[in-house]
Amino acid sequence: MRFNTTSEVISFSRRLEDESAVFYQTLSRRFPQEGSDLSSFVKENKKNITQVERSYHGVITDAIEGCFAFDLDPEEYELEPELLEYTNFPEAIDCAIKIEHKIKSFYESAAEQSKSLMADVPRAFLMVAKKRNERISRLKMLKS
C-alpha cells in the first residue's frame, strides 16, 4: 500500500515522531549519563509534530491538492526502534542514527513530491529534515 493523500502522510509523520520519541525515552532511561541530550530529542519531536500539523491545518490548497501529489511507500520508512538488553551505548546510538536517516529521508521525499503544488507543508517537511540532519551530527558527537 502506498500513501497518496496528505492526511495519510501527516498521520505517518506523527507516527514516526511518536515512535522515535519512545525510543529516546527508553534510551535516556538506559543511559542516564546522556539523559538530558536524549530527552531534548523527545521535546523536539513534539515540536516537529506541532510544526507539521499547524502547516497542514493552516493552508487549504495544501490539504486538497496534496491528495493527488504523493506516492510514498511507507514500508521504506518503517522504524526498527527495538533495543536489546545487551545493546551498549555506541550500538544504541548507531540504531538512533539509522532511525534519524530514515525519518529524514521520509520528510525529504514527501517535500520533494509535493513541492510543486503545495506551499507551507513541504516547507515544514524540509525544516524538520534539516533538524534531523543536525540531530545526526549531535548523535555522532555523543558516540565519540
Binding site: 497518496n4 492526511s7 491545518h57 487549504i60 490539504a63 491528495c67 501529489a69 510543486s116
Partner: protein, 495 residues
Amino acid sequence: MAILEEPIKGVKLVKNYVNGEWVESKGEIYDVVNPANCEVIAKVPVSTAEEFDDAVQAAKEAYWDWRSTPPVSRARYLFRLKELLEENFEELSRIQTQEHGKTIDESRGETRRGIENVEVACGIPTLMMGYNLEDIATGIDCKLIRQPLGVFGIIGPYNFPFMIPLWSAPYAVATGNCVVVKPSSEVPLSQMRLAELVEEAGFPPGVWNVVNGGKAVVSSMLDHPDIAGLTFVGSTPVAKIIYEGCGKTQKRVIAQGGAKNFLVVMPDCNVQPTIASLMTSFFGNTGQRCLAGANLVIVGEDEEFYKDFVQKVVDTASKIVLGYGLDEAVQVGPLRDKGKKDNVISYIESGIQEGAKLLLDGRMVKIRGNYPDTCFLGPTIFENVSPSMKIGNEEIFGPVMSIMRAKNLNQAIEMCNASTFGNGHAIFTTSGKSAREFRYKVTSGNVGVNIGIVAPMAFFPFSGMKDSFYGVLHTQGQEAVRFFTESKVLIERWF
C-alpha cells in the same frame, strides 16, 4: 491506515436553534444518510413557515440590542467563536465527511476556509469604518457611516455544508445584523454543530438562528417583510428564482448559481503539477463544486503533446482511490446521494449518445472497503466533446471531464466566453503573455493561472459572472461588509 472515528454516533435528531433555544420542529421528518455506508445518521425536520417566522421575530427582537453593541465587543464574540472552532476543528471536519461524503482532507480544507471568514470578520471595527471630508462647502462637513439593516436570511447548499454559510453569517452579525440560517436539509449537522459553538461563545439569544427546512422556509424568507436581504448559494435555476423574488420584495440579495468551468491547457504548461491540479479540480469533492473543472481545453495542433497529455490524465485518474472519506487513503468519496449519481450517469449516457469518446468510465467503480456502490461514481473522462453537446455546456456536478481542443489561445478563450456561466475558468501555462491574455479577456468572476480550483480566500470576494452570479456585491471580505450595511451620509453645518 485505520478509518478515523465517526463523531456522529447513532441517529441524531436535528433541532432548530431559535432565540438561543434548541427547539423541536413540528414539520415532517426526513432521514439524513451517510452516502458512503448508507447508514441513517440523523433525522431532519422540514420546518413550517410559522416556525421560520418565530426565528425572524426572535432575530428582530434581538436586533436593536445587538446593533448598539459596540463593534469591538461584537468582534470579541467572534474571537471566542474562532477559538471554539479551532478547538473543535477535527470533529467539525469529520462531521462534514460523515454527512456529505467528501474526504477528510477536503473536509479539513473546508473547515479552515470557514474559520478564515470568522477571522476576517473579527476585524470589523476597522472593516466597518466609514469616511469623511471637512469643508465640502465652507463650514460644512460630510461623513459616511455604515449601519446594519436588520435580519438577514442565509441559505446554504449541500456541497459545502460547513463553509458556505460562513461566507455570510460572520459578516452579517459582525456588522450588527441578526441572521436566520437555513442549512441544506441533506446535510444539516455541520450547521447544527456550528450553532452549538455559537451558543457556547455566548452570542445573545436571537442573534444567530438556524431553521431547518425546504421550500416553505425559502419562500417565507423571500416574502417575509422583516427580512432585509438574503444570501444564497445553489443551482442557477433556483438562484434566478431567489434573485427575482428579492427584486419583487425589495430585498438585498447575493445569489450564487452554477458553473461550467473551462480549464485551458497550453502546450508549454508544466505537465506534472498541471495533471495533479486537474485531478483535484475535476474529481475532488466528487465534482460537486461550483469551481470544479468541467471542460478541459487542450490548445494547439501538436498531436504528440495532445496524445501524451491525455494519456497521462487518464492514467492518473484511473488510479484514484474511491471510498469512505474517513479512510485516510481515499482520494474521492461518494456523491451526496443516489439521485445525484443517477443524474450524473444520465449525462454520461448522453455523452455517449452524442458521439463523445469515453476514455474512462466511472460507472465501473472499484470501492476501497466494504461499502455499497449506491452513491459512488468514479472519475469519468470523455474526449471529442464539443461545446454544443449536453455534457459540454450543462452543469453536471459530478466527476466528469470533457476534453475539447482549440487551435490557439484565442479560440480557447472564445469557447470559455461562449458559455452561459462565468465562475472559475483557468489556464495552465508557463507563458506570462498567454496568462495575461487569458485573464484579460475571459468572462469569469474568478480566474486561475495554474490553479485548478479558483477559490478566493476570505479577504477577497467570491466573485461570479453571467449565470453563475446574480447580484452586485459578493460574499466574503469587504464586499460582504458593504452588503450587510447601508451607507448613511451625514452633512453637517453649525450656525
